[in-house]
Subunit: 176 residues, 2 copies
DNA sequence: AGCTTCATGTAAGTCGTTACATGATTAC
DNA sequence: GTAATCATGTAACGACTTACATGAAGCT
């Protein structure tokens, strides 16, 4: 099966967040806030918007606009598609956690807790996996001296997971 | 200018680490250790190896091999190319830190300290940037409640940078 | 005999990039 | 008036993925 595309869902999420956006505004968004987590160039965005219109996910704003920009609104179908995508379980490899959170505005959304819990699962299993790799690959000092850079980044990866897990747990606590 | 390729340098680094590798072995590597940081499928690897031969970076092992595998050795030129690549300053966006460390076997390599210091610079500036974004975008409680998911992941990103910086600093200390 | 793994390769398709293009508006 | 930014689009190209293909070796 082909890999699931994410760009259309991001555009959907952005338009949904702002109720109304032009292609140019969307491309500017990637230079600012959401740019910390994802990027897309305008040559991707414009054709994608056309596809989304023909799929009925968005529609051009009918109101006569003074400006030169074309604004798009999310349709009823589009809102459903977006919610479906947000509800899909997180997978280990795509790392869509931050991206999906970006589209959740309300602290009380049940999705919020769900996503944090899923991500906690993923990081925990990754953490365990990395720790067992380290035990296996670096059982003694000699093996470390043998591949010092490798041992460093394995340590780093473990520390990163540990930190992420802690953050997720404390975030969960604050959601109570 | 086109984006700098990394695959050939990874293959070079892998062959250099093991002195001798077949395409199949390389593709297996991506399922194990280096797989934590990078992936490549065999349909990329085999043509890439051919290109590297014609560029004179590697050469097939001349020794008559009992096995069906074709083994490759790194050439003198290849070693230089690899060292050059490792010495190139890290850029903010590619995030080649872990990957490059993987190819540094010796704790005393001057490159080690250099890479950690460079990465520290990058993370520090990223950290400052994220903190100023948070001040700007989330000045009060109301703005947080307005985009709760976004505020969460911004906090997460800041915490991640903080953790990475701490790790890099303590790693530097241990290198003394 | 049939299935899995080893081992190498090519072909087709997708996603994303940079470059090419154009016209309107705003700033100096 | 001319340079930058706004605004939208297409074209060419590169990297990577999945699928297609083939043959040998080993296991059950």
């Amino acid at each position: 099966m082909p890999k699931k595309r994410v760009l259309p869902y991001i555009l959907l999420g952005l338009i949904n967040n702002q109720t109304k956006m032009s292609g140019y505004q969307i491309s500017q968004e990637f230079n600012h806030e959401i740019g910390e987590f994802w990027h897309a160039s305008h040559s991707q965005i414009y054709p994608e918007l056309q596809r989304m219109i023909s799929d009925g996910w968005i529609e051009p704003d009918a109101e006569v606009s003074d400006s030169k920009s074309i604004f798009y609104l999310i349709t009823f179908d589009g809102k459903n598609i977006l919610q479906e995508w947000l509800s899909e379980p997180l997978s280990e490899k795509d790392d869509l956690f931050s991206l999906k959170l970006y589209f959740i505005k309300n602290q009380d959304s049940p999705l919020l807790r769900e996503l944090v819990e899923q991500q906690l699962q993923i990081n925990s299993s990754h953490y365990e996996h990395l720790r067992s790799r380290r035990e296996l690959v670096f059982p003694d000092e000699a093996s470390i001296q043998n591949s010092y850079g490798h041992s460093l980044i394995l340590n780093r990866a473990i520390e990163r997971e540990r930190n992420h897990i802690n953050w997720l747990k404390s975030t969960l606590d604050n959601l109570e």
